[in-house]
Symmetry: C2
Subunit: 217 residues, 2 copies
DNA sequence: CGTCATCTTGATTACGCTCAAGCTCCGTGG
DNA sequence: CCACGGAGCTTGAGCGTAATCAAGATGACG
C-alpha cells in the first residue's frame, strides 16, 4: 500500500468539517495493488473506507482454506463499518485501485457532520440489507439463480452498456457458495440462452435483463 | 398478541431512565402465541424488542415459499435492530412467550441512558458477528458441519445440562439451508456416534461437546 | 385412547462437486 | 510483430452429497 495523497493541512481541517463531503476533505487517499490487504481479520476496526477507484472484497477463511466472500465494494461504496471493536472479515483489493481512509476518532472529534453521519448510516443500512439478501441467496437459491442474482445486482450497482467484472471466477464462486466450474457452466449456459454475451471472460453485455431478473427470482 | 403488563406510570418514568435496565422500566411487555408475528417484512422498524421468555425467529420468504431464517433469539436477546426504516425480515414467536417492546422515539426522548445505549450497541455488534458467521455456514459448510455448528452455538447461548430445542426441524432446516430430512439424518448420525443423546426430539444432551465442536469446524 | 402433526428412515434422483483435459487470453520477450 | 508461456477459464466425465419422494414411527393433545 502506498500513500497517494495526504491533505497538507489534514489535522487543522478536521474541525471545519460541516458541509459537503467530509470524507473527501478529511480522508487520506491510499493506493492498493491487486490482492493487497486493506485490513486483516481481527484488526481493530479504527477506520472507515470509501472506494475511489478499483474494487474491494471482504473475505473470511476456514482453517482448511475454504473461503467465503462477504461483499464486493465498488467506487463510491463505503466499507469497513463494523459496530464491534475488530474486523471479522479481511478486506483486499480485487484490482489496483485507490481507497479513501478516515480514522473513526477523527470522525468523532469532528463532531456532528450531518452529511457524513447520514452517509455512514445509509451505508450501514445498505450493508445489512445486502447481507440479509446474501443469506437468502446462499441458503436457498440454486446455482443458476445465484449467478443470475449476482449479475442482476452488479448491473444495478454499475450501470452501463457493458458490465465488466473486476473479480475472478474464484471470487464469484466464493461469494456465491459454488465452485469455479459451476459458475463457469452457468455463465456459459446463460450465454447460450442469449441472456448474456461475453467479450472476453471479464466483459459481459446483458442482452436480456428481464430474463436475467426472472432467473434471479 | 396480548398486552401482558404495562407499567402504571409509563410516561412519567421515561425521563428518569438513567441507571440499571431502562428497557425493563420503559418497555411494554407483550405476550405472543406460538407462530404469532411480532413484526412483518416491510413493517416500519419503530421498536426494539427483548425476549423475556420463549424464543423468536426472524424469517424471509421467496415468492415460491422457500424460506430462510436469519436468526433465533432467546431470553435476554435484543432483536428488531435495523438501521434502515423498515424490517427486511419478519419476526415470529417459536413458542408462546413474552417480549419487552420499546419505541425508538421513546428511546431518543429519554436521551442518553448510557447502559441502554451500550446494550443496544453490543446487540448490534453481536448481530453482525452472528450474521457473518451464518454466511460462512450457509456458503461453505457441509450438512454435518452445519448441524454441529448450530448445536454448539445453541449450547453456548443456553448453557445447561440438557438442551431443549424450541424450534421445529423445519425451522432448523430453514436456518441451515437444508431440508428437514437431512437435519433429521444428521441428528440421528450424531446420536449413533454417541455425540448426542435425545430424550424426545426436542430435548438433547450433548454427551461429547469436544467432538461436536470439532465437527462444527 | 385415538388422531394428527411432526419426526425418522429408506430408496432413488439430481444438482453441484471433483478430477482431468483443453482452450483463451494476456503479458512478456525475442 | 509475433511466438511463447502460463494463469485463468471452459468443458467433459463420473461421482457424491443432499434433495426428493414415500412410508412408517413417535409423541403431543384433545
Amino acid at each position: 500500500m502506498t500513500l497517494a495523497y495526504i491533505p497538507d493541512d489534514f489535522a487543522s481541517r478536521a474541525h471545519l468539517a460541516s458541509v459537503g463531503d467530509a470524507l473527501d476533505r478529511m480522508g487520506v487517499r491510499m493506493a492498493f495493488a491487486k490482492d493487497e490487504e486493506v485490513y486483516a481479520q481481527d484488526d481493530q476496526a479504527d477506520f472507515i473506507y470509501r472506494v475511489v477507484s478499483g474494487a474491494i472484497r471482504t473475505t473470511v477463511l476456514m482453517s482448511d482454506g475454504r473461503r467465503q466472500i462477504g461483499e464486493f465494494y465498488y467506487p463510491g461504496d463505503i466499507f469497513g463499518l463494523e459496530p464491534g471493536p475488530d474486523h471479522r472479515f479481511s478486506a483486499e483489493a480485487l484490482c489496483d485501485g485507490v481507497v479513501l481512509v478516515l480514522k473513526r476518532s477523527a470522525l468523532r472529534a469532528a463532531g456532528a457532520d450531518a452529511d457524513l453521519q447520514a452517509a455512514i448510516w445509509a451505508a450501514m443500512t445498505r450493508e445489512l440489507e445486502r447481507t440479509q439478501e446474501h443469506m437468502l441467496l446462499l441458503g436457498r437459491k440454486t446455482a443458476c439463480e445465484k449467478v443470475a442474482s449476482f449479475l442482476t445486482d452488479l448491473s444495478h450497482r454499475r450501470p452501463g452498456e457493458q458490465l465488466d467484472l473486476p473479480m475472478s471466477r474464484q471470487d464469484m464462486a466464493d461469494y456465491l457458495g459454488l465452485t469455479i466450474e459451476t459458475v463457469s457452466r452457468m455463465l456459459s449456459q446463460l450465454q447460450s440462452n442469449s441472456v448474456l454475451e461475453f467479450a472476453g471472460c471479464r466483459h459481459v453485455r446483458i442482452k436480456n435483463p428481464a430474463a436475467l431478473a426472472r432467473l434471479a427470482q
